[in-house]
Symmetry: C2
Subunit: 352 residues, 2 copies
């Protein structure tokens, strides 16, 4: 490969453009090609980003000038796309969740292990400046011991969803906002405090006209002790928050969702408030990062340095296992241990 | 009775002084007497508040110059005290929760129904100016349809608790912060959105040295549809928050816990933020009330007008049923319907 990672976008919807914008802000990647089954979409995309386009995925995978794919196809098409990419020796950035089904998630983890390509899963929320600062605070002991975590990620997408969309199909997108939104915070909490042990969940379908749940909630007991709450509504005003309650201080990260799609602006529209035990609350000044650029740079660095990425398939799979554990808990009305849900034959090194 | 309700404090600990201060701010009650088994405590209290003291509860109950008792004895002593008061024809203000056990809660509801005295349970949080404003917004449709509610009430009391305190005893205070703190928000959510249908809960004992849980969480499915989360830590920096997520707007009430004991100051140290769907967030100016004065004034008005109080025994019992449903859910690792927990023989008019 050349010095800069040469990437090609696959699946050219709204989110592909967010990611392509992040490539433009990076000095470690070049967007060189693209593919979508819709000819009009790839022509437009190639024009906008001044890159080649491929008429078929096969053609793209045969292009020796492409080092890695940026995969933003629907969740249930991730596994096919990644398997073909990996077998063609292409590295992969893939949007979260790693897949919709556990079988697909496991298949991805296996083919990646087998082929040795590098994969970065787009759990971008851990790369918010606020998430990084909370991680630093935890490491420095500034919060004391943690008892409780609360997270929320909500927006109103399910008010607009129509039955023809894959996100509206309970077969293709089980869990609705649990799979699409809460999964970000599953990753953030895993990043901050380690793996989950068990979960109880409640979901409801209240105000949407499509057949997915539109509000999901979960209480996760972490291996390390604290309990973490994950709330997600798909039918309300937007919200993104992560709150940790510690013996020395509580900390609240709140992000203005209107800037969620703007990696270069989102940290400037985030507030990190510390509430010391008994003391006056204060705001922490965040040094802006760029979560979408940074996750792509991480893939480029992992390829360059021949090492795993920060968010590889095993992390993506762990987050997906938690989604499915929530769904089982909500369906069966009982506490579900994560170990019950892990697919048999999971890779060595994966939990449990 | 005279024009002003003549009240006597029973159980003269820290909270009795908070309530006595509220009596002093009211123009509808006079604090005329007090009783504690500790002679030193009642002498000091009588001196501070310029009132009589009684050497025994019997003496206090025989005092024709006392219309009502202000009961702040430990939760598991509420039923005995209230039963004796009611049979002596005294009205009652009692701190939340109405009792520790369901049996006691039911006993209180029965004796109150039988004797016809007026009872106000101290679920003060619904009387915060912010709670009243959220109720108004809901009624006016300003939030649209609600999908999700989140509440937190936390402080660090369990870091200091020693095993000799009743609050530290799992027999006398089952649930720890669930019984002492979250129960406030059970009442607030019931006030705002109506009764609960089922619950799943997780609790843990992490950082306290005593034997009660120190972090409790619950997901409650409401009869009206939304899911409500209730978090409570007893081992972290303090927090009080109520958050509603609606199709038109989200609303966040945050109260500075350092003013929780100051009914006349707490609303001035509360923030109510509205986040309209797609629009700019704004703060709502709250007209300060005084939750402790107002709950006592409500008792005085109910007596004067010969009507039930806003928070009578049946409301207190419903909140207590939810506490016990959470405990059962956490213990059994399953969803518990509220109907399973209601004591048999509950009064007509009570749920279910």
């Amino acid at each position: 490969m050349t010095e800069r990672l040469r990437v090609a976008s696959v699946g050219l919807g709204r989110w592909a453009k967010v990611i392509a914008g992040a490539v433009q802000r990076s000095s470690h990647l070049d967007l060189v090609s693209c593919f979508s089954r819709q000819e009009a979409a790839r022509t437009e995309f190639a024009g906008t980003y001044a890159c080649r386009s491929a008429a078929t995925l096969e053609e793209l995978l045969g292009d020796p000038g492409v080092d890695a794919l940026l995969v933003t196809v629907p969740n249930d098409a991730h596994a096919d796309t990644i398997e073909r990419a990996a077998r063609a020796g292409k590295h992969v950035f893939v949007e979260k969740p790693i897949a919709a089904s556990l079988e697909d998630g496991l298949r991805i983890a296996r083919v990646v292990a087998e082929t040795g390509v590098r994969v970065m899963v787009g759990h971008s929320a851990r790369m918010l400046a606020g998430s990084r600062e909370i991680k630093r605070m935890l490491g420095a002991g500034e919060l004391g011991q943690i008892a409780l975590v609360e997270t929320n990620f909500s927006n109103d997408r399910a008010l607009e969803l129509t039955p023809d969309k894959w996100r509206a199909d309970p077969e293709r997108n089980p869990g609705g906002p649990l799979m699409q939104l809460a999964v970000h915070n599953f990753d953030v909490v895993g990043y901050l405090l380690g793996p989950a042990a068990s979960v109880v969940a409640q979901t409801a379908r209240l105000h949407t006209r499509v057949q997915v749940p539109d509000v999901t909630t979960a209480l996760v007991r972490l291996d390390s002790g604290p309990i973490a709450y994950f709330g997600s509504s798909w039918v309300s005003a937007a919200a993104y928050a992560v709150r940790l309650y510690g013996t020395k201080a509580n900390v609240h990260l709140e992000v203005d969702f209107r800037y969620w799609g703007r990696g270069d602006q989102v940290d400037a529209h985030s507030v990190l408030r510390v509430e010391p035990n008994g003391g006056d609350p204060f705001l922490v000044k965040l040094t802006p990062a760029d979560m979408y650029r940074d996750e792509l740079d991480e893939l480029a660095a992992a390829v360059r340095e021949n090492r795993p990425t920060e968010v590889g398939p095993e992390v993506g799979l762990a987050n997906l296992v938690l989604v499915h554990a929530c769904l089982r808990s909500a369906e069966e009305g009982r506490e579900v241990r994560l170990a019950e849900v892990w697919p048999s034959g999971a890779l060595a090194g994966n939990r449990p």
